[in-house]
């Protein structure tokens, strides 16, 4: 008699589908902006094209910052790095997490025990502070920082994937494939991976969202490559160099609103996807 849950999800399904489509469109739009930012910007974001602290005008839609650079152009240019950090960092975390999770859940026994305990131990390390320290000491490019983020953040995903694989391994088709003499790697790729793919995609969407926010956050804290234009860095600059005290909302608000907007879009996409994958799966994810 577990059908109550399924019913509710059924009713919501339609609305959620719309949300998902919208969030895909938004993502595509942002990607286009990122790719074509040199064409879309009225000014070069690095050069001084006006007097400092100009108000919004026809010349500078969002005014200029304290150096006299065009804020709108910088905003456009910041899109790419935000998406990049989200997709590379989130993608890497999911990739490692999926690999470890599948291996752990599929082999079980000693290997599983070893990996699970290992993850338990890793989880006591404060990863976010560690990321900050690494980012600040190594003074590396955003690419490397994204990779670092992925490497530091996979443990959660490995856990979720593992418990999902574990519940799959009890099914007959796995036994069947084993009995037919299929190799382990064949079973993992051909039988297990497709079955957990919906879950992986959902987790990927949320990971991208989290990592985008985190990437902007690092910029806000003044970390990362100072020569790459990023929304975080823009917020930081506006906040510390007077945009705040002078009440220049057109300087402070746009980068923050835009990351919030992107994040909401992705998160709606993630939740609607989560609704789509079947309720039984849901059950296991939440309990794990």
């Amino acid at each position: 008699m577990h059908r109550k849950v399924a019913f509710i999800i059924g009713k919501k399904r339609l609305k959620r589908n719309v949300a998902f489509t919208i969030s895909i469109y938004i993502l595509v739009a942002f990607s286009i902006i990122a790719i074509f930012s040199p064409v879309l910007t009225p000014y070069d974001p690095y050069t001084i094209t006006g007097t400092p602290l100009e108000k919004p005008s026809m010349g500078h839609i969002l005014g200029t910052n304290d150096l006299g650079q065009d804020i709108f152009s910088r905003l456009i240019y910041g899109t790419g790095i935000t998406l990049f950090v989200g997709f590379v960092g989130g993608g890497l975390a999911i990739l490692i997490g999926t690999f470890v999770g599948i291996v752990s859940g599929y082999y079980g026994g000693v290997i599983d025990e070893f990996i699970t305990r290992g993850i338990d131990l890793l989880m006591v390390i404060p990863m976010f502070p560690l990321l900050l320290v690494l980012a600040s000491f190594l003074e590396v490019s955003m690419t490397r920082i994204s990779i670092l983020m992925g490497i530091l953040g996979w443990t959660m995903f490995a856990r979720v994937i593992r418990s999902q694989v574990l519940s799959l391994s009890e099914y007959n088709f796995i036994y069947g494939a084993k009995a037919m003499g299929a190799s382990d790697s064949y079973i993992m790729i051909k039988h297990i991976l497709p079955n957990i793919l919906p879950l992986i995609i959902v987790k990927f969407v949320f990971a991208v969202q989290t990592y985008m926010i985190m990437g902007v956050g690092l910029g806000f804290l003044g970390l990362g490559d100072p020569t790459t234009i990023s929304w975080g860095q823009m917020i930081n600059r506006a906040y510390t160099n007077g945009g705040f005290a002078l009440g220049m909302w057109w300087w402070l608000l746009p980068p923050g609103l835009i990351i919030a907007f992107l994040s909401i879009a992705l998160s709606l996409g993630g939740y609607s996807l989560e609704d789509k994958i079947n309720p039984r799966l849901r059950r296991e994810i939440e309990i794990s």
Partner: protein
């Protein structure tokens, strides 16, 4: 006046795939001190019928008909009034104790709960009563067991605990839903013996798909197929003189009679066959069976059948 009288009961579940017609125009009577067996294949609607009597089906279910209990129609009672009947006057022993027992509450607490609620016992008295109930269902060391959790009980003991929970308030009617399912044969026989003993007084609707067990316990047997009753008679009549082809098939599938399975599979409750529900699997099919839906008719005294052979 009979204790329970079900008239034209229907229970339909609207689902995404269509309407599941789980219970279809069921008429059934249970007298005081009578034990009626309800048998049928898995998925034919037995549990849903039990739930309908208890009014435990989810609110989205379409229910029609009347369920007269002591002259009152249960379907017309308010939720508040119904609550006073559940557990106290009509109690259900649920099908699958491992999932129907709350894993984080003590067995004793789960038994004591209804006596505290309906009989106004205080905590201490309720606990003593729970110990007594566990003793009554033959659980050894009951005063210790009462403080244990479901996972510490074996399968047979969970079933006993479930029975104890159902009986705790001396209900006038017990609905026992397959209490012997999944138990091995020795434990099954113990439970059957126990059920016979503890329900000597009071009425019972005994749901099972095990005819042997029903024969042991019940005075009358109702046979259910695809959401409707197809035969109703005294237990010995069902065994000596089964009339409906389905009942006969069911009997032939008993181990003592050669384990002959009925051919075909039970129909989907969403797309029910036209005419007689059983015709696609019946060996005595005639043309008329395909479009004519037979009514229940009394062939012998107290022996009802839903089959055109007897119409």
């Amino acid at each position: 006046m009979s204790l329970l009288r079900i008239i034209g009961l229907k229970a339909y579940f609207p689902t995404q795939d269509g309407i599941v017609k789980a219970v279809n125009t069921v008429d059934l009577e249970i007298e005081k001190n009578e034990r009626v067996g309800l048998i049928g294949e898995t998925g034919c609607g037995k549990t849903v019928l039990g739930f309908a009597i208890m009014r435990l089906l989810q609110p989205s279910t379409n229910i029609e008909g009347r369920i007269m209990y002591n002259g009152k129609d249960l379907l017309k009672l308010s939720e508040e009034e119904m609550r006073k009947i559940r557990g106290k006057e009509i109690a259900m022993i649920f099908q699958n104790p491992p999932t129907f027992l709350n894993p984080v509450l003590k067995i004793g607490y789960q038994i004591a709960e209804s006596t505290q609620l309906h009989q106004g016992l205080d905590k201490k008295a309720a606990k003593e009563k729970a110990v007594g109930m566990l003793e009554a269902v033959k659980i050894p060391l009951s005063s210790k067991r009462v403080s244990e959790y479901p996972h510490q009980f074996s399968g047979g003991m969970k079933e006993r605990a479930m029975i104890a929970m159902g009986l705790a308030c001396d209900p006038s009617l017990i609905i026992a839903d397959e209490p012997t399912k999944g138990l091995d044969i020795t434990i099954k026989m113990q439970i059957v013996k126990l059920m016979k003993e503890v329900t000597r007084q009071g009425s019972m609707l005994f749901i099972t798909h095990d005819l042997g067990v029903a024969a042991e316990i019940c005075d009358n047997i109702a046979v259910m197929y695809a959401g409707e009753l197809v035969e109703y008679a005294k237990t010995e009549d069902i065994f000596k003189n089964p009339m409906h082809p389905y009942t006969r098939g069911f009997l032939n599938s008993l181990p003592s009679r050669g384990l002959k399975q009925i051919r075909g599979i039970s129909p989907s409750l969403i797309d029910l066959p036209s005419g007689c529900r059983f015709h696609p699997r019946c060996d005595h099919i005639e043309e008329v069976c395909k479009n004519w839906h037979p009514e229940m008719v009394e062939c012998d005294k107290g022996h009802y059948v839903r089959c055109l052979q007897y119409g």
